[in-house]
Symmetry: C2
């Protein structure tokens, strides 16, 4: 590995970060390297830079492809496969969000919904279902939001994020405005994700 110090530091850091998430260190480093590179790299370039075995690099690139995080391309006059990351960081964020939703969130919501169809037979089960119901609502609200803003063009997404919590003020104002104009309250969305307290605040038994 004979990289400029800044690149090396970044690559090592993302290797570590990767291993805190599902992605292993090798794959994290490969991605970091591709991300910083000013040209598409082939497998041997990566072997030369990071010192992993050829087969390890091959498998790492395969995994990155399943995440849709790298693009395979062929340079003119070169038979080897070259890889690059999207140029736009927002694009990377969008892809990551989609893949994580597909792999982690959706199966979780499915499980929760399945389980919630069953009739609880004891008090403890009833309580557990209430908890799962809460969790389901929170997760679907969060991912629904994410899904929704995914649809926005970069410019508008950025503007929205910059507003941060101040949006709440605007919302409030709009709300009041609508109330004044229409004479009624704002309509509610379908799923209210405020914490259900149904089975929650029972007296703690057992001592």
């Amino acid at each position: 590995m004979d990289l400029p110090p800044a690149t090396a530091a970044f690559v090592l850091h993302f290797g570590e970060m990767g291993s805190r998430w599902g992605i292993n260190r090798t794959v994290g480093q490969i991605y970091a390297l591709l991300f910083l590179s000013d040209r598409p790299l082939n497998a041997d370039d990566i072997v030369a830079s990071l010192g992993f075995s050829r087969s390890n690099v091959s498998m790492g690139l395969k995994e990155l492809e399943t995440w849709r995080l790298v693009r395979l391309q062929h340079l003119p006059g070169d038979r080897r496969e070259h890889f690059s990351t999207p140029e736009d960081v927002w694009q990377i964020v969008r892809i990551l969000a989609e893949e994580r939703r597909k792999r982690e969130i959706d199966p979780t919501l499915t499980l929760l919904r399945d389980v919630l169809l069953q009739k609880p037979s004891t008090e403890a089960e009833r309580h557990a279902q209430g908890r799962m119901h809460n969790l389901h609502d929170v997760i679907s609200l969060l991912t629904g939001w994410a899904n929704d803003v995914q649809g926005l063009p970069d410019e508008r997404l950025i503007a929205l994020l910059k507003m941060g919590g101040r949006v709440a003020k605007v919302l409030e104002a709009t709300d009041r405005f609508q109330q004044i104009v229409t004479g009624k309250g704002r309509r509610r969305g379908k799923a209210d994700a405020a914490p259900r307290r149904s089975a929650e605040n029972e007296k703690k038994k057992d001592a």
Copy 2:
């Protein structure tokens, strides 16, 4: 492990999910169990339910404490330590977000800022720095937003999330309104995180 089927399914699922993130399967299962329980559990309860060794449970609870995800409490007339999760799922989400920021995002931003202070000496380094700069801006915009909405009370956060992308419409309207009223454009925030294309679109060399 002699849990009701719904609870067992949930516990196993969160064990798997946990291991896709930094958290190991055991710890994930312990947390899932506590989350569903209608009363605080002690270490032996957990051993009985999940069948791990006592020491493993002890370490798992330690780890959950460092994440601030469980609360230690003593029941009257019982010397043993009992553990429970926050009742409010939003509270759990907030804690998770804070801890992940502290452990993963902040160190990453620090690294990026440090590296960006160095003067690039080659063209490739200059390009790499441009990429890191983009990434820094995106990450800080996203976490800034998260930080910001963390400050909102549950009710308002929920309302904001429900609005989803429609907020963009409101923003746009507000924007136009301000332009009309003040006669100028909306002021920009300090850091514009739109992708910098500076070093990006060079001709690809090397073939």
